[in-house]
């Protein structure tokens, strides 16, 4: 068998390069109308009255009155309306759509609709808790009660905006018994289920098709369900194709972002300077509606001991509602916030205790067989030792670290250690998703992969085909994968949580093996495979106890920086990264994930500033919200070390999110090393560096 990791030509590159791939805004229909959104201009208010200008013929207002089903977007909690009815809970909340042929006229109508509000007092502070969780490992509470020495630091992280280069967009199509939604998305079945509830229709009444998607990073996980419901309602009313495309400003201001967080960490220290227990508290700002925030909080809390085994941990967390734009899924899903905090904390503990940070970290580094934060087990081989050695050698970490620590030359180097639980947290797969995949061997001996997982740039068009082709020993060209269409593919679950290769790809591989056994030339054969949780994985959802994830991917990042002593601008000098993703299904594709992910993580840590002032996002376009350009990026050296996972296809585990998680702590530690001050919040901007240099502690 050929080595599965060896790169092959990416199936969809050619049409993308030639400009032939059809993204949602490249698709048009005869008779197609456009829609734009009227949004609330208050953060917290009651709508008293809406007055409309004269609406020209062919133009239509679509609002909550037009919704046949529930006026809620089906996510987890039913709290976010499709269109605001009376209550406004955040600035920019959608009230209605104006639909018609000419965008200029639509925008004119929108500008002349007048909404009268009874303004109420909004809340922007983290006060109103809507979800609270806690769990304990060992005897943390008791230890803290009797602790002689406690080290305590507070950390905070800001917003992060996805900035997928293709903004959000969908088209709705009408047939008498069916509404079809086509668009840029990660989760066709999330949309289907949400639209069914909005329209109060059965399975057959809604069809969802993915168009080539221009980046997503979590931003197209749950958000498209909202606009799909809106468009579906409009299409049902108007009975014509309708297109809704956000422009960049609308996308930046009013779509979901990474949750800002405040994290308090405490360590109880024993007489031999050992860490007896850790106490973690996480506060997440969900914005106006809960959405996925509870699950994001769980992932953050579970990550609270990072890659370290601490015998006694006490963890609590709240999701707070504020009158701001709702936050949602973003690559890493709560883990980047916590991994930043814990990586800083372990270093800060070392400096408080005047210990060598490397020695302290090593002492607690998790090993195979150790108990996880939730009382589960690290069952598989952990190769962090080897990975750390490798990255230190590649980057010459030790020498540079000592040199920069002694010298005041504004150079610094930082190293982060991190892990990511692959797949859904807890029993999500087994209880809620129950993924089903199919493979159909056609009469002509081509094989079609029937899954709902989408390619949003991460390469599954190629990797899923490759898995099937390799198992069946047929050319990749004979394996068909089309953008998912819910009328044609089963629900293999959403394209999230680094589950696509490990879980869906794993099922696809099992199906391919069965097909191989049953293969008969010239005959159509369909094989179905449904997810079954491995027996040894047990999870108590109520109490957050047990194995939170079936497997973990691991990473080590080193970042070297120089801080400009006058402007405090941070320049990257080098990035080194080593990962254990089990087995790379295609080295070049996973390398792309690694390089793109680490840069997204580093810029989350030092560059990307988004602020909310009185409930309004201040950075509304790419001029104000800075993401890295080719000049900000530097050479990246990446190594993957094979550590095959028994239940993954060819040993593969999750890779997509992992690569973002270590960037922020690595760059923050590098800056800390450069300026000799403690960094406790990200992004580490020049203003913050100035503050630290003037007033910070070292």
């Amino acid at each position: 068998m050929s080595n599965i990791s060896k790169a092959i030509e990416k199936v969809d590159s050619e049409e993308k390069m030639a400009g032939k791939a059809k993204y949602i805004n490249d698709i048009s229909y005869n008779d197609m109308l456009f829609a734009m959104t009227l949004r609330a201009s208050e953060s917290k208010a009651k709508i008293i009255k809406i007055t409309y200008p004269k609406i020209p013929k062919g133009y239509t207002i679509v609002d909550y009155n037009d919704i046949p089903g529930k006026n809620f977007v089906k996510i987890i909690y039913e709290d976010m309306p499709i269109f605001a009815k009376k209550e406004i809970n955040y600035y920019g909340e959608p009230i209605l759509l104006v639909v018609g042929e000419d965008k200029a006229i639509i925008s004119d109508i929108i500008n002349n609709i007048h909404v009268t509000y009874k303004v109420q007092t909004p809340s922007y502070e983290l006060k109103n808790s809507v979800i609270y969780y806690e769990f304990e490992k060992g005897k943390a509470k008791e230890i803290f009660k009797n602790a002689k020495k406690i080290i305590h630091f507070d950390y905070s992280t800001g917003y992060q905006e996805h900035v997928y280069i293709e903004p959000q967009g969908l088209i709705g199509l009408y047939e008498p018994d069916k509404i079809t939604i086509i668009g840029s998305m990660q989760c066709p079945y999330y949309i289907k289920n949400a639209v069914m509830q909005a329209l109060n229709s059965g399975e057959k009444g809604v069809r969802v098709k993915q168009a080539t998607t221009g980046g997503a990073f979590g931003g197209k996980e749950e958000f498209p369900s909202l606009i799909a419901c809106q468009i579906a309602v409009a299409v049902l009313k108007i009975k014509k194709p309708i297109k809704l495309i956000y422009d960049r400003e609308e996308d930046m201001e009013f779509t979901t972002k990474r949750h800002p967080s405040n994290i308090k960490l405490q360590a109880a220290i024993g007489i031999n300077n050992e860490i007896q227990a850790i106490k973690a508290y996480v506060a997440l700002d969900s914005g106006a509606y809960i959405g996925l925030s509870g699950v994001v909080l769980q992932r953050a809390m579970i990550a609270s001991s990072g890659v370290y085994t601490i015998d006694n941990i006490e963890v609590a967390g709240d999701v707070y509602e504020t009158n701001t734009v709702p936050n949602g899924a973003f690559r890493g899903f709560g883990a980047p916030q916590m991994m930043f905090a814990i990586e800083m904390f372990i270093n800060h503990i070392a400096s408080e205790l005047k210990l060598d940070p490397f020695t302290l970290r090593n002492k607690y580094l998790a090993k195979q067989g150790d108990i996880t934060s939730t009382g589960g087990k690290f069952r598989d081989v952990i190769i962090m030792d080897e990975m750390i050695k490798k990255v230190m050698k590649m980057s010459d970490y030790k020498k540079k670290y000592l040199k920069y620590s002694k010298k005041d030359n504004y150079k610094g180097i930082g190293m982060s250690w991190f892990l990511h639980g692959c797949g859904f947290t807890g029993s999500g797969e087994q209880k809620h998703i129950k993924a089903l995949v199919k493979l159909r061997k056609e009469k002509n001996n081509f094989v079609t992969i029937l899954v709902a997982s989408v390619d949003m740039g991460q390469g599954i068009q190629t990797t899923l085909r490759k898995i099937v082709a390799n198992i069946l020993q047929i050319p990749v060209k004979k394996v068909i994968y089309n953008n998912p269409d819910t009328d044609l593919v089963p629900d293999s679950g959403p394209t999230v949580a680094s589950r696509t290769i490990m879980i869906v790809g794993g099922l696809v591989a099992q199906a391919a093996k069965l097909l191989k056994e049953q293969w008969i030339d010239g005959k159509e054969i369909t094989i179905a495979k449904r997810y079954k949780q491995p027996k040894h994985i047990k999870w108590d959802e109520e109490n957050l106890r047990g194995d939170a994830y079936p497997a973990y991917s691991w990473g080590v990042n080193v970042v070297e920086v120089v801080v400009n002593p006058i402007t405090y601008q941070v320049e990257l000098i080098g990035i080194w990264e080593v990962y254990d993703v089990g087995k790379a299904i295609d080295e070049r594709i996973v390398l792309g994930q690694a390089e793109g992910g680490v840069l997204q993580g580093i810029s989350y840590g030092m560059l990307e500033v988004m602020k909310n002032v009185n409930g309004r996002i201040q950075q509304k376009n790419i001029t104000d919200y800075i993401i890295p350009t080719s000049c900000d990026s530097v050479n990246i050296e990446t190594v993957f070390i094979d550590n095959p996972y028994l239940l993954g296809p060819y040993g593969a585990k999750g890779a997509g999110e992992l690569t973002l998680i270590g960037g922020a702590p690595a760059v923050a530690l590098a800056i800390e090393n450069a300026i000799n001050r403690r960094v406790t919040k990200i992004p580490v901007t020049p203003e913050y560096i100035m503050e630290l240099i003037d007033y910070g502690e070292n």
Partner: protein, 157 residues
Amino acid sequence: MAKIKFTLNGKEINITIDPTARLLDILRDQYGLVGVKEGCGEGECGACAVLINEVIINSCIVPMGTINNKSIVTIEGFSETKRYEVIRKAFEDEGAVQCGFCTPGMIIASESLLNNNPHPTEEEIRIGLSGNLCRCTGYNMIVKAVKTASKRGEGLW
């Protein structure tokens, strides 16, 4: 309304048009050249890049009135050339394409750069691509692709 003459992917065009209309919209809506993407609409991302008289310009900030007598090449036109073939192969080999939304613009930027400087240094490549945002790749695989194209395309530029 203004009368405007220009060449589009080698074809001569004479039209009467609102001189303030955005070139991007005309290319996409009137000529169906949807390989030219809109990522920001304000000249910041480069997804809408085209060549005007062989130099890269963001078509979202170009009013039609300014293109009189000029030559416009979009990705659709450029993809018919030998130079494209070299860039395409290099992008493929270096893994420079993920979601692909920035890619037509990146390829136009690569052409504009190589046309002007057939043997750019890494630094020059980074500067040459810096007007084009990519959120997926972290850029290095694109930078390498341009390097590779420059090597393989000896004599083409």
